[in-house]
Subunit: 330 residues, 2 copies
DNA sequence: TCGAAAAATGACAACGTTGTCATATGCCGG
DNA sequence: CCGGCATATGACAACGTTGTCATTTTTCGA
């Protein structure tokens, strides 16, 4: 029922191959022929079938994009960056939410392979390194956002998690804080590990002893931050400042302080990470580390597409810088 | 280079058709054969090529999802709802951002048709009705969120925009407000028209004269709301309350009032629409109309998939109810 | 005006899978 | 141990496009 290239060919009195040439603008075609074919294409409202095309060219012009959860305010900007870069290069994006669940991530990875996407962007990846490596070995091109895996077919887009967190921590120390706690993120996340390292490094560099009781791990959401902060406030000598894995936890922490009758930043200073939209609107507005989310998404997709084109990763790691945004919470 | 069904067949000593039967679990296969084939599939890490499959079955098991902009906090929940419903039914989602631009929307519409998606969900659609109708005529199944188009292949998922806005307006009137302004959204959006109607209806029902000067149209973002509110504040007799097309404009309005040295809700009460995440965290927290965004996305995709399956829309319109969430701004 | 080279066009196979239909195999009752 | 029937399997075409290579047509110089 739908119009095929064959219909166009018949109607225009040429071979299908000639129609193909007109559509793709390759191979020589006499101008008169081209116009005749073009006219038929428009008359019949013919649209080439991308599925058939992909089967023979072995390219789908599609990118997979796996993120933890679109509703998490960190990801929409990443998604948009990926989408924009993809669009510029003529690629389409297949989206999947993995909920930071390695099982779901693996399932999607397999799905994307079946669907023959030309490359895959992962943000918030929690799969075993071995799984990613295996997919890459089987010929899959990947770009990881905020995760590093060394492999000839894997590209990493990173922020300086450790440095930025160290700076944030140092900022608090310079403000006179000595009892500084850390709200730890998901241990599976490489970014969580690195940020925590930055926190410890800053303490060490300023000669402040590390106190394990000042580190609380929770889910990286508002509720998690609230819960973690309650734990900290119950300590015999509670912290006067808190560095959080991300903004959501930081916001939860602020809420917990205020619930307990304390004031931010007077009683407890709070500093977040990511600079999500919400961060500018809390009470007080959140001091945080701005991460170039859109840019990272854009770069991930753009670099991935280049990589696919030339057939090798180059460069293999792209680093972005986080930047402290001082607002009211610290 | 990649493993095909042929490789599996050869290795297992059966025909490709038998392998196909094993994979899809259709047609009779002797248990012994099934196990042998299954073993080879696993040994070779064979993954069926979805592109080839789609070509012959004429179904891609993919849904297109066109939204205005993922970064706009209204859409992530919709996206997640669509994704979840799609996943349950074995569908994959192709995402596109249209930026409320009819040209981009049409371009994506064509792209999605080329890619042979089985159906399309549109949220924030701004294309000419004729364009949508034409796509539907050519056999395309669609679900529109917050837009109604009467066509046998088009499904509409709506909120009671007019009623909910009328309620919100009435709420302000009951609070004693008489000078109530309206921040109008994009005139291309059907939702904008309906909400505005609700505002006017409420005024009418309470015998409050409609004043054109109290209606300001701007882009539906924070900046737009700020700008619109500034205009209103410059009026000789500025409003004491404002109903906004959406939360972003409402937040902008709050900012403008505060910038001008006024207080919300004492000097100007503000009420929004959508209940985005941000709404709960502004100062003061925003009173607004909660729209079941996730549910609407889920329902859109689920109903669309049902529709595709049975080959006809049933029902053709699904209505959701908005609900006033009273917080601090009104 | 002719021949050779260049340009334009077309026939056919291939991409990897499933649908259709024919054939082979296994099973069961007598 | 055989016929008949159900079950299991396979051969081949088809999906709609592009790649390869052969063939036809045009162009142009001598």
């Amino acid at each position: 029922m739908p119009v095929t290239i064959r219909d166009v060919a018949r109607q225009a009195g040429v071979s299908v191959k000639t129609v193909s040439r007109v559509i793709n603008g390759d191979g020589p075609v006499r101008e008169a022929t081209r116009q005749r074919v073009q006219a038929v294409i428009e008359a019949l409202h013919y649209r080439p079938n991308a599925v058939a095309r992909s089967l023979v060219t072995r390219r789908t012009m599609a990118l997979g994009l796996l993120i933890a959860d679109v509703i998490n305010p960190f990801f929409p900007e990443v998604v948009r960056g990926v989408e924009d870069a993809a669009k510029v290069a003529g690629y389409t994006v297949l989206l999947g939410n993995t909920d930071e669940d390695p099982v779901q991530e693996e399932r999607y990875l397999a799905l994307m392979q079946e669907r023959q996407v030309d490359g895959l962007v992962l943000s918030g990846s929690r799969a075993e390194e071995e799984v990613l490596r295996q997919a890459a070995d089987s010929g899959f091109w990947m770009a990881l956002i905020n995760r590093a895996v060394h492999h000839p077919r894997i590209l990493s887009i990173l922020v300086d998690n450790a440095d930025a967190t160290a700076q944030a921590t140092s900022y608090l120390i310079q403000k006179g804080h000595r009892r500084i706690a850390y709200l730890l993120g998901p241990s599976r996340a490489e970014a969580a590990r690195l940020r925590f390292e930055g926190y410890r490094r800053a303490l060490r560099e300023h000669g402040i002893p590390f106190r394990p009781a000042y580190v609380v791990q929770e889910i990286p959401r508002i509720e998690g931050g609230r819960k973690a902060m309650r734990t900290l406030l119950a300590l015999p000598s509670p912290p006067t400042a808190v560095v959080a894995y991300n903004d959501l936890m930081a916001i939860g922490a602020i809420e917990a302080v205020q619930e307990a009758g304390g004031r931010v930043p007077d009683d407890v200073a709070v500093i977040g990470f990511d600079d999500i939209l919400l961060a500018a609107y809390t009470i007080p507005p959140l001091t945080t580390v701005r991460v170039p989310k859109y840019e990272m998404g854009y770069k991930a997709a753009a670099a991935l597409i280049d990589t696919i084109k030339i057939g090798r990763t180059s460069p293999r790691v792209v680093r972005f810088k986080g930047k402290i945004v001082v607002r009211g919470s610290a």
